[in-house]
């Protein structure tokens, strides 16, 4: 089959799938359900294929069967131990392997926590007003010294007020604490608004991607032969 024909078939399938999935916007229908299930099936099949072709075959099967690393056979009983959780009599075996992996994961979590959060703690704690980064250094955002100072002050005030808002150990009485807490709540709401705005932008980008496919790849290039 010619390459052009294959490309046309792929694009037609893409058009049918896109319109089929978007048909849910009109109302619930069987065409949507068909394409939804087809997508799920394809995704599952694709993952299984990737797991075998990229992981199990080159990293395990070939090494064991062709390069003679016979000890890799022990991966099978180790993997089977996970499934012993379904046997009342032999579930102790699953606990052994789960324990091993839990221990390894817990150990890695120490490292991941330190590498991820310690720099954040350090930056938050060292945000003194006068300790300004060079304008072109990472974290400076190209800010001038005065705007960087204002940024630092804002950061410290918002950090303190948001932490006050989440301080539930005692009743927030008086004038100062509830006011600071309220300010923290408002800044949180601003942050949630920004998060929601980003979500809208992400969803719009996905829609634009599909519309571009329908308009450009299908109508303009395939039907009208425009470039």
């Amino acid at each position: 089959m010619k390459e052009e024909t294959v490309k046309l078939i792929v694009i037609l399938l893409g058009v049918a799938s896109t319109l089929g999935i978007y048909s849910i916007l009109y109302k619930e229908n069987k065409v949507f359900r068909f394409f939804e299930h087809m997508y799920l099936g394809l995704a599952a099949g694709y993952s299984i294929s990737a797991a075998w072709n990229d992981i199990l075959r080159p990293q395990w099967w070939t090494l064991m069967m062709i390069e003679g690393r016979w000890w890799m056979l022990f991966a099978i009983p180790a993997a089977m131990m996970f499934y012993m959780i379904y046997s009342k009599q032999n579930s102790w075996m699953s606990r052994l392997i789960f324990g091993l992996f839990l221990g390894a994961t817990a150990g890695q979590t120490f490292q991941s926590f330190a590498a991820d959060y310690f720099p954040k703690f350090r930056t938050a704690a060292s945000k003194a007003v006068m300790d300004l980064p060079e304008v072109n250094q990472p974290g400076a955002y190209g800010l001038t010294p005065y705007s960087a100072a204002l940024n630092n002050v804002l950061f410290m005030v918002i950090l303190a007020s948001v932490m006050t808002y989440f301080f539930f150990s005692f009743e927030q009485k008086g004038k100062v604490i509830p006011s600071v807490s309220k300010f923290g709540r408002y800044t949180l709401m601003v942050a949630f608004g920004a998060l929601f705005g980003s979500t809208i932008m992400a969803r719009m980008s996905l829609l634009i991607g599909r519309m571009y496919f329908l308009i450009h790849d299908f109508v303009q290039v395939q039907l009208l032969h425009m470039q």
Binding site: A50, T105, G139, M201, A202, Y212
Partner: protein, 284 residues
């Protein structure tokens, strides 16, 4: 008819029209303002590609996205990969969160590499997909032995047999990491690879816009050196590169769709306030 009672399908139709028009006809829009994360993203690639200590090191292109976020991540990948090949930097495609990243990243790299005269195995390589469940252990193993930890490339060739990989054996041989992701997978590079060698490796992030908020603190702390925020970031990068692509063409659709949503939010709230006043009037 009032907005709160409007059929949602009318809104969907409006949105489809607003998004489609800029894709059909050229709608003028001023060039985007280049935000600091995009500027530092560009400057980091420039610095790494010219610094004698890093210019010959490997660039890891980590493609952890699937077809669901093509519009954002693929446009980021195309824009930045064009920059990488223009600097004649050698790169490796890698995926560990979504197997589709292996193929989407690989096919895009193949197309751009062919145009730039790059040869597979000599100038670039595709390491393929590895499972996310063991990525922490894999990255830790990669620090001292890239060949042993990864084993083979996507074609099943041993990394030790690939000419280009003879010079790249451990984390110290990596000069730049660029993560294209639909989730927060950049954290694995930061936690287990970035600072595990003798010098920290510059790390750049291309998230979908919904994921960008979580990554901003990492720019502040220096864990990330730059970031392209979704389609908007890709548009900014194309503008900096003076190489318009899909993101530039889509930016008008993005801006006008945002305007429509803001307008609908205002109209919806006005309608709601009017309804509330009417109800209050009726109870009085």
């Amino acid at each position: 008819m009032r907005i709160p009672q409007l059929d949602r399908r009318v809104l969907y139709m409006l949105l489809a029209i607003v998004v489609s028009i800029p894709l059909l006809v050229n709608v003028p829009l001023p060039p985007p303002a280049i935000t600091p994360p995009t500027k530092s993203f560009y400057e980091t690639i420039e610095t790494v590609s010219t610094d004698p200590k890093t210019k010959d090191k490997l660039v890891i292109i980590s493609c952890n996205f699937g077809s669901g976020t093509l519009a954002e991540n693929l446009s980021q990948l195309e824009a930045t990969l064009n920059h990488i090949v223009s600097k004649r930097m050698k790169f490796a495609i890698f995926a560990f969160n979504d197997p589709q990243g292996r193929d989407l990243g690989g096919s895009t790299a193949q197309r751009i590499a062919d145009k730039a005269g790059y040869k597979y195995g000599k100038d670039w390589v595709n390491w393929g997909f590895r499972p996310p469940q063991g990525i922490q252990s894999l990255l830790k193993a990669m620090v001292n032995d890239l060949h042993g930890a990864l084993g083979t490339d996507v074609k099943g060739t041993k990394l030790s047999a690939i000419p280009m990989m003879a010079n790249y054996k451990k984390a110290d041989d990596v000069g730049l990491i660029i993560e294209y992701a639909a989730s927060d997978t950049v954290k694995y590079w930061v936690q287990f690879f970035q600072r595990a060698g003798s010098t920290p490796i510059a790390t750049l992030f291309c998230p979908t816009s919904v994921m960008a908020n979580e990554a901003y603190p990492m720019l502040e702390t220096g864990q990330l050196q730059g970031m392209l925020v979704g389609l908007k970031g890709a548009n900014e990068f194309e503008t900096v590169m003076k190489r318009p692509g899909f993101a530039t063409r889509a930016s008008a659709s993005l801006s006008y769709s945002h305007l429509l949503i803001i307008l609908l939010i205002i109209l919806g709230n006005v309608g709601m306030i009017q309804d509330r006043k009417r109800q209050q009037g009726a109870t009085k």
